[in-house]
Symmetry: C2
Subunit: 520 residues, 2 copies
């Protein structure tokens, strides 16, 4: 933004393109930018058409393996390379705005061919070269962080394509975690059906009912409390033995709510529950949502990553019918926290729901296309730049890299499951191979194995997992979580999201449980 | 947590202390931990007693200049140093939990005497040594991030001491930005007065009214929409010429709302408005809040940093009377975004308002004191670790360093103000020296200077700032924001938060405005 195009190592024609999307760009210029993106369209990259019953992979419009950072933001075409040298930042005393733009720009000049470690080092260099001011990028308006705004748009579009929405249409934003993304979904649904609540409050709406599984993440409940619905108006749905919502229970409860004169408005289907890793049957839930005109949200915070895997994405079949989707790359995909996206199928709702059009922030008379100012879509003001690490990782690993990561983790959990399902002293919490990497099991120390099933055994078993975990923490070798669930006493829940783990690590876990638990 | 105390470079007695706060610690052990913190109590560090009219600085309970990271988390005392070597992490295949704990622990062994740059390098080393899994610390439960949880508690307490609450009593949490912190304040206030809204929704409460200045940040309005109050129930208060709330207007509007049968519940006083940098008169607003039993929130997202300055903190006089305070170290104090704290005077409200006690997350039968599990206070689930950079910076700069930072920025803005207030072609938007670093002014190009005051001049002036800003961005030299406000046409708002700026930078800004604006 503050210099001319100056790629000494790369004089490709892309360098001549105008990427600074200005309001006064001619239609020709705009279409040139777009088509030059399309020129690079997918050659090898996988996308997935999820509209049929079986997932089909096809080319995607946005090819991340060939799209370079510099494609995002370029100068007006210039035949010279006499621009500002890369090592010379502009005067940066106004701190945030200037330097982050400059930094963003400079980031856009890196070669995409460098190895992951080189990327990291470059980033570090950029960060440390300007200790004052350079540490504060934020997502808010295009002028503050042009590259990051565009990265976010491209990446969200790519995610929507993977969800299965036609040509990645829709909207979305990165939020500070899955709980906030889920909160967005409830807000947007309310705005869709009762937009007057924004100005008049909940008093303007009838009694609104939300539905979610009894196994779902507590953030849906937090949202119902925070947003003024009240937790009593969040109806919990029964699940089958594997922790999946029973669609008939949803329909029965919808009818019951309607009979009471309430308005069923929102259904959350979980793709990857926290404890069991269960995937609710989205298609059947979607049928009911369509029938009763309810918003369908899919909480894929934990399970959304499986969309990257040709082998496992069928577990989210129907996700393309959702009105909104939470997907946390910071969970299953290994992106450092925080990195969560809320994806919305209908454009304009996020903006309509949250915009306040503060004149001091969003001036319509800026010299660029202010539709790129994403700040007013958020309930936040300036947002932490969560996109960059994700984008970098995608560049470095590729879609296929994420797929391998995910398949590896699921393989490992299958290994653990197969290892313990018939092993002496173990009992699985639910039958069959886990849908996600959550392996839930009890360990019975030898002293409990002879006991008859009954209250005493239950009571003693309830104390085993906490005790073993405490011993693990004291000996400092490993740690695995536990919890009760419903009427089930404390059980271990082993979750794998690190694809650097190995089978010998799994073996070690089992050894440790037995070493520490043997004498309990 | 996963080894014995092993400070080869430091064999101070602190090394013998037990810092892992376990449920079965004896009272003696607990009091030993606490008193060993107190042993290091403030010798040089400044705190401030704000309860009188004038700020008085005194010693603080928590001395950050002498409190080392290792004080936060130590092992059971051991005469040996035969623990796990620092370079040997525990088996980390369970990724997140293990490695972040290990990392936290390892972080706790750094010397506090190293220079800031060395700190950064150490941090970088820690980050890169374990590319898999080590990147994902998160704040949630004590076992996941023990050091960070304790850092957060200590730092929040310190901030509350600086606000002026007796011995730093109260509660608080770091949130993803000032808008979310402000949203928390409204939620907590509602929970305080109408706890049944949590379960029954807004239908259980009468019509609740919120008040904030017409100059306040738009996040209060966003919160009123999101939480189900409705923006129409947020009443905007008139301000004086300097942008400060007129207390009489608040009282009049409170009375009006009561006469209509509504319930005035919440008042936001802004400490440092976004555009003018104005500080609302907190004491007078607090009087009205006490009289009418309303929650007083102080939005010090932007101005809270001035609490660190003996010279400027009087602008927040009365802040200790607030029920809650938003304070963003990522703004005036130069901490990288995101780092925002919501401080609450009454303990228990945050927990009461937000807790859902999900059994799978917060097991009461853990082997440590689960009151350190802060996750259920938040509307988020796992939180980004925002505390560490702030804590590091505080360690590196000290309270006095922050004070110097802030005083320098305010000096620079005074320099700018004095330079342009009588300069030809400039007009200040409000009279008198700005309260914060916001300097708001119009620049009149020579072609406008002869025009009589009137619609034509206004219309032309309205276009000047956007045009100059566009030219700045095109020439890449600097950038300064503008906006209209009320009936005032576009004016520049120069804000300084980078204390590395110099007077010559200010001079340069003026030169640039005149160079680019001269021929408009």
């Amino acid at each position: 933004m503050y210099g001319k195009c100056n790629h000494s190592a790369d004089s490709s024609p892309s360098c001549k393109r105008l990427g600074f999307l200005q309001k006064n760009n001619s239609l020709e210029e705009r279409s040139r930018i777009v088509s030059s993106f399309k020129e690079r369209a997918a050659k090898n990259l996988l996308s997935c058409d999820n509209s049929g019953g079986e997932a089909r992979f096809s080319r995607t419009e946005t090819d991340f393996s060939n799209l370079f950072a510099r494609d995002l933001l370029l100068w007006k075409s210039s035949p010279t390379t006499s621009g500002r040298p890369l090592t010379d930042p502009p005067r940066s005393w106004t701190s945030t705005t200037l330097t982050s733009s400059w930094r963003a720009w400079r980031a856009s000049t890196w070669s995409s061919r460098t190895s992951p470690s080189l990327w990291s080092r470059s980033w570090w260099t950029v960060r440390t070269k300007r200790p004052e001011g350079a540490e504060r990028p934020r997502l808010f308006t295009y002028e503050i962080a042009p590259v990051f705004v565009l990265m976010e748009q491209l990446t969200l579009k790519k995610m929507r394509e993977i969800v299965g929405w036609p040509v990645g249409e829709g909207d979305g934003i990165f939020s500070p975690g899955g709980a906030i993304s889920n909160m967005y979904s409830v807000m947007i649904a309310r705005y869709k059906f009762f937009p007057e609540v924004k100005t008049k409050g909940m008093a303007a709406a009838p009694r609104l009912i939300l539905f979610t599984s009894e196994h779902s993440h507590y953030s849906i409940k937090k949202a119902s409390a925070a947003l003024g619905f009240g937790t009593e108006n969040l109806i919990l749905l029964r699940t089958d033995e594997r922790g999946r919502v029973i669609p008939a229970d949803l329909e029965a409860k919808v009818i019951e709510a309607k009979q009471k004169g309430y308005v069923p408005m929102f259904v959350n289907a979980t793709a990857g529950t926290t404890v069991y890793g269960a995937f609710d049957p989205i298609n059947e839930i979607a049928d009911i949502c369509e029938k009763y005109n309810m918003w369908l949200h899919v909480d894929g915070a934990w399970g959304g990553g499986l969309l990257m895997s040709r082998k496992h994405r069928h577990k989210l079949n129907g996700v393309e019918r959702a009105n909104s989707v939470t997907w946390n790359p910071h969970k299953m995909m290994g992106v450092p926290l925080q990195c969560s996206a809320i994806l919305v199928r209908e454009r304009g709702l996020l903006q309509g729901c949250n915009s306040m059009s503060a004149g001091y922030l969003f001036q319509p008379d800026k010299q660029y296309d202010v539709t790129y100012d994403t700040g007013d879509k958020a309930i936040q003001c300036g947002r932490h730049v969560d996109i960059f690490k994700f984008w970098l990782m995608w560049k470095a690993k590729g879609t296929v890299g994420f797929e391998q990561h995910i398949d590896k983790c699921l393989d490992l959990s299958a290994y653990l499951y197969n290892k313990i399902k018939n092993r002496e002293g173990y009992q699985m919490v639910f039958d069959g191979e886990p849908q996600h990497t959550n392996v839930c099991f009890w360990y019975f120390p030898p002293s409990l194995r002879g006991l008859p099933d009954g209250e005493e055994r239950r009571e003693r078993l309830h104390k085993v997992a906490p005790k073993i975990k405490a011993l693990m923490m004291e000996s400092g070798t490993t740690m695995v979580g536990y919890q009760p669930q419903g009427d089930k006493v404390n059980f271990f829940r082993m979750v794998i999201s690190n694809h650097a783990a190995t089978r010998s690590d799994i073996d070690f876990l089992i050894e440790e449980i037995e070493r520490l638990g043997n004498d309990l």
